[in-house]
Structure formats: structure tokens, C-alpha cells
């Protein structure tokens, strides 16, 4: 198989019925990002850009493309305290920043808010619920406090299509209305943008392999059984039979259905006010993150006050996949 330029192809994108050589594939990825930025007005000339970097393929890939497109973009890494997984993720983020000579800001949850994700996980329906809530709050805070105009995340087509499927299955109009590639700036909130929404996870993995960007391939040990991973597999089963299904599902929603939900967005904005503890926008007296923080810190105090028992059964549960030497809250 050959690329349309005549060189040997290394990557196929079945939804486009296209095979690409290395250079044409990298050009395809960058042009998709440029197209999404233009279509949705994600980044304006001269704006300060902050990329949320996890050490994975999507966040390092989007950072790389933005830098190649000429944007001045810094990175921010959140240390979630998930043992060796967090240590290794941070290493990939630091190595990439050093290789490009760009700024990587680091926020360690333990130092910043007094807890880690393994400590917060039991307080919500799943570890990912506590993690997502913490990430949204702290990334927004990092962008706002340091004066960035735009916060970029590495959400890709598979992420967005799986979330959309989950929201459709629940017919949750509020979540559906919020699912856009651009969440506009508001008092206390930086504009949040997702330039990868036209690229699949497979394309992002190929992008990093071809650009020799080293990233963490291991899955987060706390994400085992995550609902969205199952929804992604379901969507890929459909995509395998009918290439292009994910694109038509997600982008068809954005183009045809989302405009009809404008009134829901307006209602959500009218309900927002400042959290009485941290000042972040919220629709409740205290924001969800401050409530989580209170619950976790209160538990820590109670545990410290309780008499210590030596039975093995009282030891904290180690999430599946964490290694024997991994500290639960390192």
C-alpha cells in the first residue's frame, strides 16, 4: 500500500479510506487540530495557553502539535499521588518539556490540597469520579491563578464519543448541553478547549510512536472497570464494522443536536455563583471539590484519632494493578 504521495504507507485511517506515509500522517494530525481550533474559535492570536499534561499520549501529543503550529504553550502536570504510576507519568511529562525547552508547571495534590486520589477515591462512586472532579478544579485554578487565557486538554474523539454515549444512555440534558469542544471563559473559569476531538486514540498513539514521543502506555491502576473504557470498546466494535461511526455520532451531535440545547446552557450559567469557601463557580453553596476535600480531611482526622489496630484486614485496600511496593499515597 502506498500513500497518495507515492511513499510507503505506515498508517491507515479506515474512516477516511486512506493510508498515509509518516510525513503525510503527521501532517494529517496537525491539520485536524488546526481545523478544530479554527472551526470552534479555540485559541486566538496572542493568547496565553496552558496544556493539561498527564504524561499520556493525548496530552503530550496535543502539546507537541500546538508547539509545532507556533503556539506559545506551557504545560501543567497534576501529581495525583497514585504511587509508581504517578511517578512514571511525571517523568514522561518532565522529559518531554525538557526536550522541547518549554515550561512545565507542577501541582502536587498532597501539598496543594492535603490529600491524594487514593485517599479521595472511597468518598465518591468511583476513583475516576474523585479524580475527574479534582482535575477539573485544580487545572482550572492553575490556569486562572497564573493568568492563562486558555486551558487545553487532550480529550480525543474516543473520549468525547464515549462520554456522549454515556450521557445519551442516561438522557442527561445538563451533561449533554455541557459537552462541547469549547467551554467559554467565565468569571473564575479559563476557556477550556479540546483540539483533538477530530482525532481517534489510535491516531494519537501512532502520532506519538512516529514522532518518538515517549509516553506512559500503562493504564492508571485505579481506572480498572471504568465505565468509559467499556463504552470505548463498544464504540470500537461498531467502528470496526462501520468505519466513521464515531465521527458521525459525535460530530453529528455537535452540528445538529447541540444547538437545540442552548436554553439548558443558559439556565446552567444563570445558576452559577461563587463557592463560599474557595470562590470557584458553582451552583451549590459550597463547590463539589471543597465538599470532597472536607470529607477526605475529616476522615483523616478521625483515623488519626481512632486507636490503631494491627489486624491485616484493617489495612487500606490497594487498587487492582498497583504494585506491592507502591505507597498508597506517595
Amino acid at each position: 500500500m502506498s500513500c497518495r504521495c507515492g511513499k510507503a504507507a505506515v498508517m491507515e485511517v479506515r474512516r477516511l479510506r486512506a493510508e498515509f506515509c509518516r510525513d503525510c500522517f503527521l501532517g494529517h494530525c496537525t491539520s485536524q487540530v488546526r481545523r478544530m481550533i479554527a472551526k470552534y474559535g479555540m485559541i486566538r492570536p496572542g493568547e496565553r495557553v496552558l496544556v493539561a499534561v498527564s504524561g499520556g499520549k493525548d496530552s503530550l501529543g496535543v502539546w507537541d502539535m500546538l508547539l509545532d503550529l507556533g503556539y506559545s504553550a506551557d504545560g501543567v502536570y497534576l501529581g495525583l499521588g497514585i504511587g509508581r504510576y504517578s511517578d512514571r507519568s511525571a517523568g514522561f511529562a518532565r522529559d518531554y518539556a525538557q526536550s522541547r525547552g518549554v515550561v512545565l508547571r507542577e501541582v502536587q495534590l498532597r501539598e496543594e490540597v492535603g490529600f491524594t486520589i487514593p485517599k479521595a477515591a472511597p468518598k465518591r462512586s468511583s476513583p475516576c469520579a474523585a479524580c475527574g472532579l479534582s482535575k477539573r478544579h485544580l487545572l482550572n485554578q492553575a490556569a486562572s491563578v497564573s493568568g492563562y487565557d486558555v486551558l487545553v486538554t487532550g480529550h480525543n474523539l474516543d473520549d468525547e464519543a464515549s462520554v456522549l454515549l454515556g450521557n445519551v444512555m442516561a438522557w442527561d440534558l445538563q451533561y449533554l448541553a455541557r459537552q462541547r469542544p469549547v467551554l467559554p471563559a467565565a468569571p473564575g473559569l479559563a476557556r477550556k478547549v479540546k483540539p483533538l476531538v477530530a482525532l481517534s486514540e489510535r491516531e494519537m498513539a501512532a502520532y506519538c510512536v512516529l514522532k518518538k514521543i515517549r509516553y506512559i502506555v500503562d493504564e492508571c491502576p485505579m481506572a480498572a472497570g471504568n465505565k468509559h473504557l467499556a463504552l470505548k470498546e463498544l464504540l470500537n466494535a461498531v467502528e470496526d464494522r462501520t468505519p466513521g461511526s464515531k465521527t458521525s455520532f459525535y460530530h453529528g451531535y455537535l452540528d445538529r443536536l447541540h444547538p437545540l440545547l442552548g436554553h439548558v446552557v443558559d439556565e446552567q450559567h444563570q445558576q452559577l455563583h461563587e463557592c463560599r469557601r474557595c470562590g470557584a463557580p458553582t451552583s451549590t453553596p459550597t463547590c463539589a471539590f471543597c465538599r470532597l476535600q472536607s470529607e477526605v480531611l475529616q476522615s483523616e482526622v478521625l483515623q488519626l484519632a481512632a486507636p490503631r489496630r494491627a489486624e491485616p484486614a484493617d489495612r487500606p485496600t490497594r487498587p487492582a494493578g498497583m504494585e506491592a511496593g507502591d505507597p498508597l499515597d506517595a
Partner: protein, 66 residues
């Protein structure tokens, strides 16, 4: 050939020659969910993998909190 896999990290032996698409099927992977890499580069589904090739199947799907 030795094929490197992830989640968990391990290696399996597969006889070549074999097309990348068939390798995925044999190992139970949806080819939309993985990337087959020979040496340093991805390969197409029709690519024939030979004994002696260094092959890795990289999971493309990831993510917990979105």
C-alpha cells in the same frame, strides 16, 4: 516471532508469516483499539509480519476520568 503486549506487560510467541490484521484477531484484539508496531513504525493491517520481526501491540484505548 516475539510479540510484546501490554495490560499486563508480557510477551507471546506467534509463528510467522502472518498479516497484522490476522495477528490482532488471533490475540483477541479489535484492531480499532490497538496499534501494531514493527520496529519503530506502525504497520497496516495487510502488512505481513515475519519470524524475526520485533512486534509490539500498543493499546490505544486509555483513560479513566474524562
Amino acid at each position: 516471532m516475539k510479540v510484546r503486549l501490554h495490560h499486563p506487560s508480557r510477551s507471546v510467541h506467534v509463528d510467522g508469516p502472518i498479516r497484522a490484521r490476522v495477528l490482532c484477531e488471533q490475540l483477541g484484539y479489535n484492531r480499532e483499539s490497538v496499534l501494531v508496531v514493527r520496529g519503530d513504525d506502525p504497520v497496516l493491517g495487510d502488512a505481513v509480519l515475519e519470524d524475526g520481526d520485533s512486534v509490539e501491540i500498543i493499546p490505544a484505548i486509555s483513560g479513566g476520568a474524562v
